[in-house]
Structure formats: structure tokens, C-alpha cells
Amino acid sequence: MKVLTSLKVLAVGVLVMGMAACSKSGSEAESADSYPSRAISLTIPYAAGGSADLQARIISDFVDKDLGETVNVISKPGGAGSTGMTAVKSAKPDGYNIILTAVGPSTLTPNANNVGYDVTTDFKQVSQISEAPYGIVVNSGSGISTLEELLDMAREKKVTYGTTGAGLHQHVVTAAFVKSQGDLDMEHIPFEGGAEAVTALLGNHINASVNTISEVIPHAGNGLTILAVTSDERLEELPDIPTFKELGYELIGKGAWFGIMAPKDTPDEIVSKLDDSIKKALEDPAVIEQFKKAGIPIAYLNAEEFTQKVIDENEKNKEVVTSLNN
């Protein structure tokens, strides 16, 4: 009797495992060709209404039409971006669960906190969508008109600079720059959001600020002076503003990037299908127009390029974040 029972259990077990194996390989074989056959969930690790939400909606509108299935944008903010990242990391890797994430949730949060994921090993990069460069700005009334003048001032006395928040990318990039110079006395003042830092600079409460360029362009020549930008090339809308690079400074980040990622076991065929569709989206005139209006610079990288970039930046950011926390 006992033997019989255990045999039965064994038989049922084998059957179940066999079925599971069949259905798994079956669905994979099917999904590569017929993907997508149902709605795709595109998570953002931010609250609705912000830049990530906007990009997700513009992209999803296009991919909807291109792939013929609805893309639902789901907002999972919280935990410095880790809530959304963790949810997608543990979601089914079938191409129906993807995330539009950014430099912070992927390369800063996991290096500063124990959140249980590593962007390089737990995620597969699909494509980079955009990268918004930063600018270092001062109040026009300060009499400072070049980056060198600001740095000279910081060699003589303490200079305060604001950013959008402690441990966020603007802070990490600037802190690494200040450290690399060795002789600068610059104190970081974290604010809550870039707008608060701009307000404080306009009101002359701080000496300088490092902000996403779209936050400071409206004030350029109208209260604020932009000294340098972090992108490799000069910006179309700011042809007279030099880049850090041409001034001879190498930075560890060029701006706030956003991109699509999927759980690590998502099949490569599906990743490249998505990548192709996103590439098409970012070449579409209507999409380009919408990004332009929103002040978000498109910067497409394919899956391979994006993967390499994430590995590189994760490495560098880890080093800085660790030193900031100690």
C-alpha cells in the first residue's frame, strides 16, 4: 500500500513535471514568432505624470500600433525606484513584463541600498530611449561667466551647489568630478527635485546648481547663466555653451538616461523584436515631435550598446556611491 502510494505520487510528479516542461518549451517556441499575442505591461518605477510616464506613454502608443497589441503603462513608484525594479525582476520573463527605467533605479539605488537586484545580472537591456544632459548653472548676478571662474572661486572658499537630491545622478556625477579635481571646496546641498534647487539658485541661496538642462533653459540669460553642459557635443539649443569635455574634463555620466529593460531570462528573439519596434518609434516624426515638445532628447542605443553602457556606468557609479556613503 505504502509502496503503491509513493509510486502514485512519483507518477503524478513525473507527469506534472513533464507537462510543465512541455508547456514551457511550447510557449517559448510559440512566443518568439507570435509575440506579442496579448497586452504587454510596461512598468515605470516612478509616479504617474513625470518624465518617465510621459516617455512610456509616447512609446507605448507607437508600439501598440506597430506590434498590434496594447501596451499598458503601470506606475510602481517608491523605494527609490526599487519597488518597480523588483516587481519586474521577479515577473515572468516572457516579454509581456518590461520596465522603462532610468539611471537612478538601475545603477544608483542598488549600489546604495540592499534592494535585492543587480541591474547587470538580473535584467536584460532592450534599448536606451533618451538621455537628458545636465548643465552647471550660476545666478547671473554672481558675475561668474565661465566654469573656470567658478572652479577658481571654489579653490579659494567654500562654494555651495544644489542638485535634485542626495545620492541621485546629478549629485553622483558632480561629486565624482569635484573629487577628481582634488583642490575644490564644494559643498553639496540636496533639494527635493530640480525645481527646488533652481528656485534656491534664483533666490541666491546657493552659489551654483547642477540640473537637467530642460529645467534651466527657460532661465538662461534670464536670471541664470549656464556654464557648461555634460553631453559630449554642444547642444543644438545652446550653441554657445561649452561642454565639460571640450574644457578638458572627463565625467562619469553624460546625463539622465532612460531605457527599456526586461527580466534576465526573457528570450533574445523577443528582446530584439521589442528593440526593433522601439527603434522605429524613435525614428517616427510624430514621436520625435512629442519628445521635442516635452524637452526630452532622444538618444537611442540598441540592446548591445545599451547593455555595455549599463555595465560601464554601474561599475563607476558603484565606486562613487560607496565612497559617498562612507
Partner: protein
């Protein structure tokens, strides 16, 4: 200016804009009234729909939702003691008591009229002195924010009910809860116990919903409701003209407070109504009338929280700086329309700016019309048997707190705060001071530490800046008066 003004007026009065505005206000009232569905969510939901619309039409819808939601948060606060939004937390001080006295209709009518007066006052301020007001926002640096938020804490005494000590205990619990999460200056984790859900701290809305709504439901489960219901059933008492008339100064003062608080980024409508209520109480000769259903209190809180709407648009439109989460979401909407908020907006798109101002006025008028109608219909909710109404409220609380961030953790937070609120009520500890410090503590802490970073740890930064020193002097005087009064009261008792 007059040409642009006229063009703006025409934009806002176009049929499409009027319709969008009306629908917006209606949707806003629904979002505001349901606990947990917030004004921010309503606005975020409407934004994708505005992509293809003309700027002023799109903004008519957004402003409609904004105004409607800030207003309607008070409806549920008054009727069932569960605030729909943080803006309505102060409404709880008088609203539910009025309902228990059978004066729900009166309270709702006052809410509608006061909200309209506050909203229109702030529109006028926005239209005529926005650029000048924007300078006020700029003069506020970290030391000034610190001083202002500290002043806000002095309100704890005004909303503590009978026992200052219990109010202070509630305030301290709120302060403790506010330090959970990442340190705002260094990013170090505090009291998160390795739980990533706590990195950004306790989300205020689920906490608020639990604290006030769940605790109220639990209290009502205890019974003794039949007697109450018969009283509530007779809720036909309306607002008397004399009650409105005697409040003219109160309404004006509260509107000024709301507009001012709205202009200062990062404060918000919840704080505005507490400040307005406190000022009313301070100016009043008979303080014993408060907390037991005082219609004057409703006039103060409601005009103040709706006056924030126009105030918050001042830094948004003139400086491109959002004053709260909702205006931050609107900033995105403006940019999608190809409008870059900031000093240049008035010169480059003056007609659109005036169109937005006019749309705000139209939204306030719709709010008045829909609200007065609603004041007659909504009290009927009270006729629903409590056995049905209370479970329905709990369901809404769960859905609402989940939908803020699609987070089951927030639902747990809501339930935990419900139990905490119930326990605190049982031992007679008031909840309002706790909420107040939950909102103000992060502003106090970050700005104190920012100030110290700026001054290289020199405390004189707080007393060498004119705005900061004036606010601090007022605050210290208020604290001194509170302590002296408390000391006298205790002496009299002994």
C-alpha cells in the same frame, strides 16, 4: 496686456473649453470625494487625454479636476468623517460634528461657498500680482522654510482639543514616523529594517486614510448609532445669510493665507487650512465653541484650501517652479503643449496664460454650481444604513490606497495606521496634530540641515536674514503664550 487678456478670455469661453472644464470639475469632485483617490491622480489621469487638445482646452480640464478635487475632499470629511484628500484633514475638526448635529447640508453649503470665495480670491491675486508674488517665493531659502514650518508646528496647540499634553504626544508620534526612510541629506537609511518599501518613507495619503477613515469605521462599529442616525436624518437645515455675513473677514483672511501658502513651494493645501483654522481660533473670543461643530471653522478651512489652487499656479507659471505634486504634474502637461513655464511665458504666450487664468475662474464657477447641487444630494448618503456604508468605505480605502502607487504595501500601511488611529482615539489622543507633524517634519528637518550646510554650522543664519528672523520671533512668542496659558490653566486646576 488688454489684447492678450481678451484673447485669453475667448480661449477659456470657447465651447470646447467650457465643456472640458465642466467635465473636469465633475471628475475632480468624484476623485476628491472618494477616500484615497487624490487630486494628483485625477490630474495625471486626464493629462494623456489633453495631448491632442488646444492648450487652454486641455488646461480647462486639468484645472477643473484640480479645483474640483481639492474642494470635494471635504464632502466625505464632513459626511462620514473620512477625508478624501490631505487638503481636507483640517475639515475634520468641525465637519463631522456638524453632521452629528443634523447640519450636514449647512456644512456642505458653507464648504461650497467658502471654496469658491477662496478659489476666486486666489485667481484675482494670480491675475493681478503674479509676477510680484513670485518674488516672495524666491525670497524663501532653506532658513525661511525652516522658520515657516516651525511656525506650522505651533498649530499643534490649536488642534489639540482639551489636552495640550496629549496633542504634543500625537505630534511627537508624527515626528517619529516622519523620520522613517532615506535621510534627506546623506541618503542613509533610517528605521527601514532593510525593507525597500520604506526607503521613501511612509506615504502620507495611505497613512491619512487609515488614520482618519479606518479609525472612524472601527469606532462606529462599536454601536450606539441608531440614536445618532435619527438626528442625522433631519439634515435639512441650510446655511443662513447671517452666518455667511459674519464670516466675511474670516473668509478674506483664510483666502489670503491659502494663497500665500500656495505660493510658497512645497507646503500645500493641507497646511493652509490648518493655519487658517488656527488663526480663526486665535482671533476668536470664545475658544470653547471650537471642535464641537462650528460653521465658522468650515468657512476658514475650506476657503484656505481652495485658495491654494491659484497660489500654487503663481510659481508654476511665472518661474516654472511647481509648488506641489499636482502642479509638478501640470508642468509636464504645459511642456507637452510646447509651452515652457518661466519668466518668458507671459511675453511669448501671454494669451494662453490669461486663458489659463480665465479657465481657473470658470472652474470655480462650475464648482459653485455643481457643489450647491451636490450639497442637496450628498447628505442622502447618510440615509444608507451604516452596515452597508461602513464596509463600502473600507473597500474604497483599500482600493484608494492601493491605486496611489499600485502598492500592496501601502494598503498595509493604511490598515496599520487605522489600528494606530483607533488606539489613539481610545486613549483620547487627537489625530490632527499627528498628521500636521507628519507633513511638516520633513520640511523642518531638511531645511534646518540645508541651512546648517549653507552656513557651515553657524546658527546665526536663522537670525541674520530678515524674513526668517521675523517668522521665528512670531513663532517663539506664540510658543511662549501657549506655555504660559497652559501653566495658568494647570495652576487653576490644582
Amino acid at each position: 496686456m488688454s489684447n492678450e487678456f481678451l484673447a485669453g478670455l475667448l480661449f477659456a469661453l470657447a465651447p470646447a473649453a467650457i465643456l472640458a472644464n465642466l467635465l473636469g470639475v465633475g471628475l475632480g469632485i468624484v476623485f476628491g470625494a472618494l477616500p484615497g483617490l487624490t487630486a494628483t491622480m485625477g490630474v495625471a489621469l486626464v493629462i494623456p487625454l489633453t495631448f491632442g487638445l488646444d492648450p487652454v482646452v486641455g488646461f480647462s480640464a486639468l484645472l477643473g479636476v484640480y479645483v474640483g478635487a481639492v474642494y470635494a475632499g471635504s464632502i466625505t470629511a464632513i459626511l462620514v468623517g473620512t477625508p478624501g484628500t490631505a487638503a481636507a484633514a483640517a475639515t475634520l475638526l468641525e465637519g463631522p460634528a456638524l453632521t452629528k448635529m443634523g447640519q450636514a447640508k449647512k456644512a456642505l453649503t458653507m464648504t461650497t461657498i467658502a471654496s469658491t470665495i477662496g478659489g476666486l480670491f486666489s485667481c484675482v491675486a494670480l491675475i493681478f500680482i503674479a509676477p510680484q508674488l513670485a518674488k516672495v517665493a524666491l525670497s524663501f531659502g532653506p532658513p525661511e522654510y525652516f522658520a515657516l514650518a516651525l511656525f506650522g508646528i505651533s498649530i499643534v496647540a490649536g488642534v489639540s482639543g482639551n489636552s495640550l499634553l496629549k496633542g504634543v504626544i500625537a505630534g511627537l508620534i508624527g515626528l517619529f514616523i516622519a523620520v522613517i526612510g532615506m535621510d534627506p541629506i546623506t541618503g542613509t537609511n533610517r528605521y527601514t529594517f532593510g525593507n525597500a518599501n520604506l526607503l521613501n518613507g511612509i506615504n502620507v495619503v495611505p497613512a491619512l486614510v487609515g488614520l482618519f477613515a479606518i479609525s472612524e469605521v472601527l469606532t462606529r462599529l462599536e454601536g450606539k448609532t441608531d440614536e445618532l442616525r435619527s438626528k442625522i436624518g433631519n439634515s435639512s437645515i441650510g446655511l443662513k445669510a447671517s452666518e455667511l455675513k459674519r464670516n466675511w473677514f474670516n473668509l478674506l483672511r483664510s483666502s489670503v493665507i491659502g494663497t500665500f501658502v500656495g505660493i510658497i513651494p512645497a507646503t500645500g493645501s493641507g497646511v493652509a487650512s490648518f493655519v487658517a483654522y488656527n488663526e480663526l481660533k486665535r482671533a476668536s473670543k470664545d475658544k470653547s465653541k471650537f471642535g464641537k461643530g462650528n460653521i465658522d471653522g468650515i468657512a476658514a478651512t475650506e476657503s484656505a484650501n481652495n485658495a491654494v489652487t491659484g497660489g500654487a499656479l503663481v510659481p508654476l507659471l511665472t518661474l516654472g517652479i511647481p509648488g506641489d505634486v499636482i502642479t509638478a504634474v501640470m508642468l509636464g502637461a504645459l511642456m507637452i503643449q510646447g509651452l515652457t513655464p518661466g519668466p518668458m511665458l507671459f511675453t511669448t504666450n501671454g494669451d494662453v496664460v490669461y486663458g489659463i487664468f480665465m479657465a481657473l475662474i470658470v472652474a470655480n464657477i462650475f464648482m459653485l454650481v455643481l457643489g450647491l447641487g451636490a450639497s442637496k444630494i450628498f447628505p442622502k448618503i447618510l440615509k444608507i444604513p451604516e452596515q452597508i456604508l461602513m464596509p463600502a468605505i473600507v473597500v474604497l480605502c483599500v482600493l484608494g490606497s492601493y491605486s496611489i502607487a499600485n502598492s500592496t504595501f501601502d494598503v498595509l500601511v493604511m490598515l496599520a495606521f487605522g489600528l494606530l488611529g483607533y488606539g489613539l482615539l481610545k486613549v483620547g489622543i487627537p489625530l490632527a496634530p499627528m498628521l500636521l507633524s507628519l507633513i511638516l517634519a520633513p520640511i523642518i528637518e531638511t531645511n534646518f540641515r540645508r541651512s546648517m550646510l549653507l552656513s557651515q554650522n553657524d546658527f546665526s543664519i536663522f537670525v541674520t536674514r530678515p524674513v526668517s528672523v521675523v517668522i521665528l520671533a512670531v513663532t517663539i512668542t506664540i510658543f511662549a503664550v501657549i506655555l504660559v496659558n497652559e501653566w495658568k490653566k494647570r495652576k487653576a486646576h490644582v
